[in-house]
Symmetry: C4
Subunit: 211 residues, 4 copies
């Protein structure tokens, strides 16, 4: 059923990029809504306001964590789409599954922020990250298998992208293991790791190669 | 009134695509907000957290359902827009009506998730899906009648798109009927159906025809 | 101060269109959040659910009203942007003011829906519509005064756009006057008016002129 | 680790613009949600509704403030992106940090609106503005250092952009100092300043130079 339809369905890289930018934009902007501002009725002095804001520190920490996670996956997906010549229906659906996993992050982040002393919260957060990783790997596998890549996309690129996802997931898994033993250490490990991903390239600070 | 205005009004396929991507992105990201994370005050142990998360299963099920429904309509609309050479005011408004029906889905999904033991909730959900189907059919009818299609868009494409919408609505109607008799069976039927739509093409996994 | 800066600032029609599509997409998707689904604890039978849903009718009516209002302004702004060759800093800020007025609509709609028996609610809603109209008129005035239009944009287009905004605001004003005397009649008048704007072109249903 | 990956990662100016437009669109549309409409149960007359709406004036003031702040940073970032020939991974991450600072504005605005009689609220708001300024300066520094600018981008442009950010931050700092002494005066000072930024160019109202 629908074979004629499947041949014409979807296939627009630009639309996938636009939906993705929309999902990431909404998700990253909504994250801050989980940091509830202190209630006016509870605050009667500078000291109380300062204390109320300081009490938000754990939420702020998971906010930083989630903002960076979203950024890493956004950059990762962008890198993949840049390699594409075109999309097809399979790739579109694989990308959509990836975005669905991304939209679940605000939920698992909230559970993680509220209950990081419990292993189940850490496991849930890690499962969500794993799903994001698995689906972004799937999109790349579909892209290569269905020959959607640009002609100038090299096998090195293919290897670099696959290795990148694998290594990142390995570190997330390690972070989850550490977190099961010592929650704060797990969070700190993952944030340090993500800072390395995001900031590392800034260290080199060399003029780019020509072209 | 406004005849001169109507000739110049709207007519930008890119803007319709951009608004659509925005609406779908917001809708799909907001869906997860309906899965309320457990309250910190209610949870005192791993077991209680696990129980609280398990209690969210029906919500998670309707979340999956709605994410897939949005995905199917997003792919369907994208397929139509790909066939267009240009848009005009009628097409723009028909597309806008379709998007309005889409924005209602989070509401009818919530009612469905909370009250799926009641026939009215199932009927409401089905009416919303029907409205989405009717308006996306309308956009296509406008596109063909107003000759907005690309020159290389074949009659086969026209038939495939119309049949696709008709068959999908037939199945949704069947799912609603099953749901009226046995709610969970109706949900299961629709999810199975949607997985078939989304995943089916992945089975074939053959290199695409050249070009 | 900043004269050198002002010459290079902003000026990208595509960015204005993208921000606009984002604002309209978020606004139209958020509108449905004001229709609160019935609470599970309050509903014990089909009849109670039906009654609870029927009680949402006034909210649904203002939802329809606001969805159409957003649609009309979105089409109107799109029509303007289509006429532009380029943008500059003034046009960008005028467009931004227009979008700010649009983002206030969910608030004044909510007040209107809850308090349409009070004249102040009707006046507030009308002031918001008036601000949207005034700012969209301002964007067009800036576009013509700063010579941002495409070379093929005719004086007829200029007249059609100005007359359109003026006539629409006249009708909104009339609707507000009627609403002050008889709220439901005012709402009915405005909805009928908007349906005429949106649906009227569909009546003609003729093949477009060549080109 | 990941050197091969870093060379291919990100680098699409259009994606950065699209994510930015999405973030600004969501942020500016969400701001109005902080102006809570009066509750139906509390209002029994025109006079009570008028009083309830008048009581929202401080919120409306900070809403205006935040809408303008977002507008100024959106125009500022757009101005930078217009100068770019291409992006790279460093620029993408610097832009993402800027957007993260922007997404925090609704939170610090809310705290500011509720507690502007307390110095800590003003300091928090100012720190957020400072972070936005520092990160947008960082993106420009990365763009120039990594030679991402268009060939026709002049040193004048570079100076104008750097001076602009510096001067604006100086004024925000001044506004914060005034606000510490006299909160309302600080808000008034910043709003006046922002109106000058946004509206000033409208005064000149001269036809643009050819080209």
């Amino acid at each position: 059923m629908g074979d004629a339809y499947n041949r014409i369905a979807a296939g627009d890289v630009g639309r996938i990029a636009a939906l993705s930018d929309g999902v990431f934009a909404v998700a990253v902007t909504l994250l801050v809504l989980d940091i509830h501002a202190p209630e006016r009725a509870d605050i009667h002095s500078e000291a109380e306001l300062l204390a109320a804001l300081a009490a938000l520190a754990p939420r702020a920490l998971t906010w930083v964590l989630s903002v960076m996670t979203l950024g890493i996956f956004w950059v990762g997906q962008q890198t993949q789409l840049n390699q594409l010549e075109r999309a097809d229906r399979d790739f579109t659906w694989a990308s959509y599954l990836f975005l669905a996993a991304i939209t679940a992050l605000p939920f698992s982040t909230r559970v993680f922020a509220d209950f990081f002393q419990f292993r189940i919260a850490i496991a849930l957060y890690w499962v969500n990250i794993l799903l994001c990783g698995a689906t972004i790997y799937l999109t790349w596998a579909v892209a290569t298998r269905r020959r959607l890549l640009r002609a100038d996309s090299s096998p090195d690129t293919d290897r670099a992208i696959r290795r990148r996802i694998g290594v990142a997931q390995l570190f997330y898994f390690l972070g989850a293991l550490i977190g099961l033993a010592e929650p704060l250490a797990g969070v700190a490990f993952i944030i340090a790791l993500q800072l390395n991903y995001a900031v590392a390239p800034l260290r080199s600070w060399r003029p780019p190669a020509a072209g």
